[in-house]
Amino acid sequence: MNERVLELDNVTMQFGGVVAVDSLSMYVDKGEIVALIGPNGAGKTTAFNVITGVYAPTNGNVKLRGKIIAQGHPTGKMKKLYAGTHIGEYSRLVSNTPDRITEMGVARTFQNIRLFKGMTVLENVLVARHMRLKAGLLSSALHLNLHEERRIRQETLDLLEMLGMEELANENATSLPYGKQRYLEIARALATEPRLLLLDEPAAGMNPQETDELSDFIRKIKEDFKLTVFLIEHHMNLVMDISDRIYVLDFGRLIADGTPEMVQSNPDVIAAYLGVDEE
């Protein structure tokens, strides 16, 4: 029934002496909206970076639809630390560059907006279509794929229209207001034709009304594009409103998981958030 879209098994990410993510195991099923929360510095974005291939995990593996996409086994100095726990288990190392993982249907947005500064709104989204291009370098460079190029442009414009940004298509991306830039990042991610969408603090810097609009929007795109959504967020209203399940990280460790109600009443979570909660 429930297809397991994403699964992390015992994932550890260590930078020098700092363990940013510590033996994290979790999963996201098809069609779910799952949130990853935790205080600042809990290792949420690091977890995203491991899933999307920016970092190779120090230990553990990441599975996408049952297939291992990233796998680490301790090397060098780390070997001693992890010796014994997984001897021989990960003899083969799997690592994918972020573009390969995007190609497999995982798209993401960034916490600190990373739009292409020198390009227009339309071009920003068009870039995301590039990897699905059928034409090769030569026919594309010589503009022999006019038909395909026209189709891609039309699809991109339709996507922008859906977001109510069609009038801004030829504006410079960074001249948009902040909220619009966040939406543009989502549009760009959607254009890669993902099945799993990772949102890194999509509501950061938004006021309550904008946050409400965003939750409706996330639900809508989840239905329209048949997505599974995994998000990091600090706005608790948004998280509690849209998530099916929630994972809570603190200092790289998973301290709680479950439905919003369960997590809200968990004493560990309350302790971790005491005085940190922004609400």
């Binding site: 974005t45 920016v54 960034f110």
Partner: protein, 307 residues
Amino acid sequence: MLSTVLPYLLSGISVGGQYALIAIGYTMVYGILRLINFAHGDVFMVAGILMVYISSSGLPLYVTIPLVLVLTALIGFLIERMAYKPLRTAPRMSIMISAIGVSYTLQNLVLYITGGLNQFYPVIPFISESVTIFGATTRMVTVITPVLTLVLVILLVLLINHTKIGMAMRAVSKDFETSQLMGIKINSVISITFVIGSFLAGVGSILYFSNYTTVIQTSGAMPGLKAFVAAVFGGIGSIPGAVVGAFIIGICENLIKGLDIILLKAGITTQMLGLTTFSDAFTFALLIVILIVKPTGLFGEKTTDKV
């Protein structure tokens, strides 16, 4: 065998010391500004030209040499103030382009002043004298260079580790913004870095040109590039690294210059292979290998980019 290799080894050590004095300027500036100061090799060349012109005025050496060093330091200071300071907030590529522009300007200025002719470097008594070591005849400068280099490096390391300005330098190279917030006068730290770097390049130029006897506007380009490679090799930002790298490059380069003869005399080859052509190329091959195998160099610190 040894008698064949020794002259090349000696001149390698000597050239290595001269490269080291230039490399320190690169590595210090890179440590603080993250800038490859492409003009540094030309500052070194300008120091040579200054020596030619000032000594031709008939001043005694004990005036000429300090004057040249002070003026070289001043040039380094002015370059930083005029060409790099206005671009402090600009993208890194702009500052690098500015450095290339300064290099172009210095070379053209010297071309104009000298008319593009080779200038004969004044003979400095004592350091140009011949001396015989282990049966190999060489000049005094070959012996003086490594000693002087090491003395200057030790003084510099003491300065950096035990004085207030040294502490400020270390702080700025660790974290530019934070040290600014902590009240360190960034601009004076940067200026002092350029002054020290140029001063050492000036010392290097006296030793180098005493050995090579002529200066022309392009004389600084190659030693400059090689010193930079030495700095990268040793781990950019690290002073001991730059010195070690410079000696390694100087020695290897000179051994390659002599490789044909060494191989011939050792009976490994029967004819000249013309390998001398590759003495410059070797340095760059070394650079590329080190960048690929260990981009942080021998003594460099590892940094990770934050996403």
